[in-house]
Amino acid sequence: MISGKHRVLILLAALASLDPVRAEDTASALIARLGKAPPVTEAFVEFRFSRFTRVPVRSAGTLAYLAPGHLRRIVAEPRAETTTIQDGQIRIERAGQKVRTVALSRVPELDALLGSVSGLLGGDAAALSAGFTIELEGGNGSFALALVPKPKAMARKLARIRVFGSRDRVSCLVFVEPDAEQNIVVLDPGRVPAPGQPVEAEGLLAACARG
């Protein structure tokens, strides 16, 4: 998930939009279009860029949006693990290890993930703007949003969340940390190089920004 160093999460999303986006589309209308009825399950591939690593650390699994405030991240590789965020608590379960429970308030990065995904997939611009300042970055057919966290504890760990997508689907979430390291989550198998192939942050971002 989002934390610490650069991570590149790549959400694999559906393909390009069908209609061109009107120029005067506002952020709220955009977000409203993104809303889906829960439960929503998306496969994802996440790339974490860190100053400790030569290449990004890759993980893959499914992200399930079960209800507002209820998120589940099931990772299959590199190690099986399930993280559930619910009722303000985080539960981390790994095979053969004790279940850990932590308050969401103590991990601002995960709080940000929950807030952004709930707001986006719930289509709730009002809820989103309660926790983030929303900036629309652009465009035609495809869009790019920037969510800047408002709470100080969150802002200390996360500079902004960039959301790429087209029409009514989110294709990538990029978590940018204050030291400019990034975490890119892609929801589109087509945009992601095969495992073992070299991956660059710029290349991934370009693939995300493509319509």
Partner: protein, 779 residues
């Protein structure tokens, strides 16, 4: 010297004594609540260890806080807030609530981690070990759990810090909510507080509890949360408050009852004051004597002291009931004096048995009682007659005469007595039998619920079961640690064989200096470390530069001095190490190996036999043995006291037959009370024995006076019967009040003595009057 001057002299002496005692008490009196005062004195090394663990060990001073009454997340937040505020308070060494993370570890410990960890003992730190660790870290980076690790990654890629932090946690961790300890079966957040003050420092603990309460009030403002504090320190303070409240209540009730009783019995306001005089003298003398001899008066001793009301009351009552219109009080008292003195002497001898027991609390009790009774008797003999004028008219009243006749009728019950006694003996011999209270913890005057709650909390917080312990004797801490390390292979075998599930000792937390030095020598030097890192990193996604801090700390670890227990003062490690390496009275170390799970005592015993310095202790057996041996000791003393008592009475009465008559009601009553207790299923504790002795002393008093009156054919039996009735009534009232107490000690005392008084009263009435004596006419 004429009467007036004699009287003035006596009065002055009395006043001076009172002033002296009062000054002493006011200046030096302090109320003790040390709960060890009623524990038997240890004799063997094992028993000393047992009592140390129970009473004085560092674990014994811990306070356990439980917060409940709100939702779990609220409680968790309050637990954190409480911890952060309390940790900085003076008087508190440590607060733990489960949220201790690796960020809380002291820097000294972190810097020494390569010397403390045992993970590189078998296979030293090299490229393959490091490569495996880096592989794990890579997977961690993809996980939310990484948020704990990221600050440490560059310094500690093998996560030795996390390993050490995990090791200091209790073996069985309670469940957690938001990283904070909670009770298993209820919604209550748990904290452990280690105070500076020992559990028995009542003043410091009082201040500490007040601090905790006020901090909690601030933290929990506006919520429905409540705080519960458990632990010996808290119990001492609560006991003190409770004893004081109950003592006040009982004292007030007893005083009111006494006033009422004396008023009804004698119909003279003046007599109320008169009867109170010896009583006040007894209380003052008792407290002064104990303060002088011991420095403090234990709260329970003071509570026992109220029983003196019942006993000391008898002396003025005998005098007042025997007052005749024609005879001056001084003459009356001189006639009663031999009987009075015999009563005091016999009771004091019985209490001397408690003095011989060696238990501080009982010795205080003995001194209190003997001093008090002596003072009451002296006041009755020398002070009271001066202030008494005429006889009490009620003694001569028709209603009193009717009462006397009714009481005389009790002799008709004489045939029943052998039957009842035989039944009682039958119950004792063939019935459920007398159970003795062998549990050391139950000898404590604390209520059972408090003790049970504390055990429950200690178990939840993962203290190893303390029934079996291995003790390793060593001259000093370093030797102890080395010995413990040498036991490791054998202990591992025992675990493998299933004799124990697990164990813990000081060396698992802090290795000996010798072992640390050995580990230090195996750490790679700078160039080798760099090569190791490069090789490990080559196969991973990591860049070598990221781990420069790791290399620096590795080098630092190779140079620094080994860690000793003193370096860890003020950390949770220190708490555990102090508990596992206690010093003995002679300055040696008795290192403990605590055991987990079901213990195969036979295999452990065999293991202990093979190794010289190792001993297996069964604390339960040791404590029961201690209690049983101690009880035998007290019983022996009581038998001797009983013989002396009969001897004193025989000496005073100079007749075997009379002595027999006096002693019989007391003996029979004791048998009856024991039978009743056996039927009730009450296990007999020390306090029951004390109560039986007290009841016997009272019985002797009744029998002596009664028998004396019956023996003298000139005498009117009415005053004696009246006196007996008032004495029994007043004593019964006092002990019935005690029986209502919530403190187990006082309750036991109240019930037992109440039964004893009733029995002695009835048996004296039934057995003692001379059968062939004609009914007296009234004048």
């Amino acid at each position: 010297m004429n009467q007036a001057r004699a009287r003035a002299l006596r009065t002055s002496v009395a006043v001076l004594l009172v002033l002296a005692f009062a000054l002493l008490v006011v200046r030096d009196f302090s109320l003790g609540t040390d709960l060890r005062s009623f524990l038997p004195p240890p004799e063997t090394a094992d028993e000393r260890l047992l009592l140390d663990q129970v009473a004085e060990g560092p674990g014994a001073r811990l306070l356990f806080l439980a917060i409940e009454g709100s939702g779990p997340m609220v409680l968790a937040a309050q637990s954190q807030a409480l911890k952060s505020t309390l940790a900085g308070q003076p008087g508190i060494r440590l607060v733990a609530n489960g949220s201790e993370s690796i960020d809380d570890l002291p820097e000294r410990l972190v810097a020494s981690r390569f010397l403390l960890t045992d993970r590189f003992d078998v296979h030293p730190l090299d490229a393959s070990v490091l490569a495996a660790a880096l592989h794990e870290r890579e997977a961690d980076l993809a996980s939310p759990a990484a948020f704990v690790l990221e600050d440490w990654l560059g310094r500690d890629p093998t996560l030795e810090v996390l390993y050490l932090a995990e090791r200091q946690k209790p073996a069985r961790e309670p469940r957690r909510v938001d990283e904070v300890w909670f009770e298993a079966d209820r919604e209550a957040a748990l904290l452990v507080v280690e105070p500076e003050a020992a559990a028995f420092d009542a003043a410091a603990n009082r201040a500490l509890l007040a601090t905790i309460e006020s901090v909690f009030a601030a933290v929990a403002a506006g919520t429905t949360s409540v705080l519960q504090v458990n632990g010996p320190g808290a119990y001492g303070v609560r006991m003190e408050a409770r004893i004081r409240n109950e003592a006040n209540l009982l004292g007030f009730a007893a005083t009111a009852g006494m006033v009422l009783l004396v008023g009804i019995a004698y119909r003279r306001a003046g007599f109320v004051l008169l009867s109170a005089l010896p009583l006040a003298a007894a209380a003052l003398a008792g407290i002064a004597a104990v303060t002088l001899a011991f420095g403090t008066v234990h709260g329970v001793t003071l509570a026992f002291g109220f029983t003196l009301i019942g006993v000391a009351q008898d002396y003025p009552i005998h005098l007042l009931s025997h007052l005749g219109m024609a005879t001056p009080a001084a003459t009356t008292v001189r006639r009663l004096w031999p009987t009075l003195l015999t009563g005091v002497a016999s009771t004091s001898i019985a209490y001397l048995a408690f003095y011989a027991s060696g238990v501080a609390g009982l010795q205080q009790l003995a001194v209190f009682t003997i001093a008090g009774l002596a003072a009451a008797a002296a006041a009755t003999r020398w002070i009271l007659p001066d202030w008494t004028r005429a006889a009490s008219p009620v003694v001569r009243s028709p209603s009193a005469a009717r009462l006397a006749d009714r009481l005389a009728a009790f002799t008709r019950l004489r045939p029943i007595v052998p039957v009842v006694v035989a039944a009682a003996v039958g119950v004792l011999v063939f019935g459920p039998g007398l159970a003795f209270e062998n549990n050391l913890a139950r000898l404590s005057p604390l209520p059972k619920e408090w003790l049970d709650r504390e055990v429950q909390l200690r178990r939840t917080l993962g203290s190893a079961d303390m029934r079996h312990l291995l003790v390793v004797d060593a001259a000093d801490r370093e030797t102890a640690l080395r010995l413990l390390e040498s036991l490791e292979p054998d202990l591992g075998d025992l675990v493998a064989q299933g004799a124990i599930d697990g164990y813990e000792h000081a060396a698992t937390l802090l290795p000996s200096v010798q072992r640390q030095a050995w580990r230090q020598s195996r750490l790679p030097h700078a160039a080798a470390a760099q090569a190791m890192l490069d090789a490990a990193v080559a196969d991973s996604v990591f860049v070598a530069d990221a781990f420069a801090p790791f290399l620096a700390e590795l080098e630092e670890a190779r140079r620094q001095p080994p860690l000793v227990p003193g370096d860890l003062a003020g950390t949770p490690f220190a708490l555990k190490i102090d508990a596992l390496l206690p010093s003995t009275a002679d300055g040696r170390i008795a290192a403990l190996v605590t055991l987990r799970g079901t213990v195969d005592a036979v295999r452990l015993g065999a293991f202990a036999e093979r190794r010289d310095a190792v001993r297996l202790i069964d604390l339960k057996a040791a404590s029961e043995g201690l209690v049983a041996r101690y009880r035998d000791h007290v019983l022996d003393s009581l038998v001797i006291a009983a013989i002396l008592l009969v001897g004193v009475i025989g000496l005073a009465l100079r007749s075997f037959r009379r002595t027999l008559r006096v002693v019989t009601p007391m003996v029979l009553t004791t048998i009856l009370v024991l039978a009743i207790l056996a039927l009730l299923g009450t296990p007999l504790s020390l306090f029951h024995l004390v109560a039986l002795v007290l009841a016997a002393g009272l019985g002797i008093d009744y029998a002596l006076f009664f028998e004396a009156a019956e023996h003298d054919p000139e005498d009117d039996p009415l005053p004696s019967r009246h006196a007996l009735l008032v004495c029994a009534a007043s004593t019964m009232m006092v002990f019935a009040l005690l029986a209502t107490s919530s403190l187990p000690v006082l309750h036991a005392l109240g019930v037992t003595v109440g039964l004893g008084v009733a029995g002695n009263f009835l048996l004296a009435l039934i057995l003692l009057p001379a059968r062939d004596r004609p009914a007296r006419q009234q004048d």
